[in-house]
């Protein structure tokens, strides 16, 4: 009997996180989902996995996700970190508190679960962490100021992490989606995309599925754009 392959998805109740959970389940992974809405718990039940309703800002809730997965399957192969939505607004009108909230939503959402999963992965001989980031990392977009700023920080964190854990066969990569159909389309955004259409959540999940697979075993520390050419000039 082969051991199961186990994937954890944080902020996985809806949008790209939920789609990634479905994809990884279809690829044969056991799935554990953390989400704040209860939708993640329902999806996990549908996929025969573990669902925890809680916040990805809560160390206790994240620990519950990891502990329940370890109790049931004894390993963690993949961690997918999605995120909610952080503060927006004109760049100099964002308050100090909102900047700090932005860091919670877009940087610590990765740092906290990584702190728990990485030692498990290193001890079992390997694993991979995939973070859903944004196209606005290398050239920010005024529509998503705190997302761009703190996912820039995430890009730096990812390189630091990738360097430190490469020898343990634990990889980390970021996916930088453009405008994806998990959110309602707007004409002005669509007009900015060289390919002339929004990306499909399934296209993002396909990339996540690839990064989670052994075929991607030599890719680490990278920021992969999937944006229909939106930031091709950057």
């Amino acid at each position: 009997m082969t051991s199961p392959r186990v994937a954890l998805v944080t902020a996985g109740g809806s949008g790209m996180g939920a789609d990634a959970a479905r994809r990884l389940s279809a690829d044969g992974f056991e799935i554990a989902i953390l989400s704040s809405s209860g939708k993640g718990e329902a999806l996990a039940a549908e996929l025969g996995g573990i669902g925890v309703t809680g916040s990805n800002r809560s160390v206790e809730d994240l620990q519950a996700l990891v502990d329940q997965a370890m109790a049931r399957w004894g390993r963690v192969d993949v961690l997918v970190n999605s995120a909610g939505h952080g503060p927006k607004g004109p760049v100099l009108e964002i308050s100090d508190d909102d900047w700090h909230t932005g860091m919670e939503v877009y940087l610590l959402n990765v740092v906290r679960p990584t702190r728990m999963a990485a030692p498990i992965m290193a001890a079992q001989g390997g694993g991979t962490i995939i973070n859903i980031s944004t196209f606005a990392v290398f050239e920010p977009d005024p529509l998503f100021p705190t997302s761009g700023v703190f996912r820039s920080a995430l890009a730096a964190f990812t390189k630091l992490f990738a360097d430190k854990y490469a020898g343990d066969n634990v990889r980390m990569n970021n996916i930088l989606p453009g405008f994806i159909d998990s959110l309602p389309e707007t004409e002005d955004r669509r007009a900015r995309i060289p390919m002339g259409r929004y990306g499909r959540a399934g296209e993002v999940s396909a990339l996540i599925g690839f990064l989670a697979s052994d075929d991607a075993g030599y890719i680490t520390g990278q920021n992969l754009r999937i944006d229909g050419g939106l930031t091709r000039s950057v």
Binding site: H100, P140, F157
Partner: protein, 237 residues
Amino acid sequence: MAWKSVAMVSAGDSGSGAEAAWHLSAAGHEVAILSSSKAGAALAHDLGGLGVAECRRSAAAVQRLVDGAMDRWGRVDVLVNSAEYQPAGSVAAAGGRHLHGIMDAYLMNIVRPTRIVAPVMAEAGGGTIVNVVNVGGVDPLELAPALEIFRGAMVNFCTLVENRFGASGVRMAAIVPDWLAGQSDQDECGAGMPIWRFRKPEEIPGLVTCLVPDTAGLLDQKQRFDGPLTSQYKAAA
């Protein structure tokens, strides 16, 4: 009487900030200095300028210095944001609260003065903001990890501000230097550098002064200043 350009320097009590204040004064700017120690106020006094010695994490302190500069000179042309050095520790050890503290020191130190000064500059037709950023905004190094995370965030923030205020003539530049001599006890970092030595304090202000004139408007906004450290770091390791 011709007006003189007015330069504000935050964290201007020592290191790159103080050197920048000296250089800008020598280059003919009036200087206003914000610092957490009396050294900044003393330096401002020596240079015939304005000083506010108060915790510069306070928006009120920034506002006081801007108000003082506007009262005395009626303008602010240049803002130099420097950072107080503080050991940041490792990523693994950094808890959530700790990271918020580092963010205050290495990102909000730039956000707070910029929030107050950029609209003043835009109203007056333009100005230049220069951020002295430690090594790592472009390619983070393991040696000072938690700090490096916020350098990337800062560079992203700079670009957002340029997008918003560039049309009003406000420019932003980030200088990305390596370690200052005597600032790090990491011998291997000096040894790994292509130029084979740490930066001297006076080497950054020259670049700050060079970035200030309008003629520098077309320079790339991220000037590395690290003796090609980041470009060759992996090869040297």
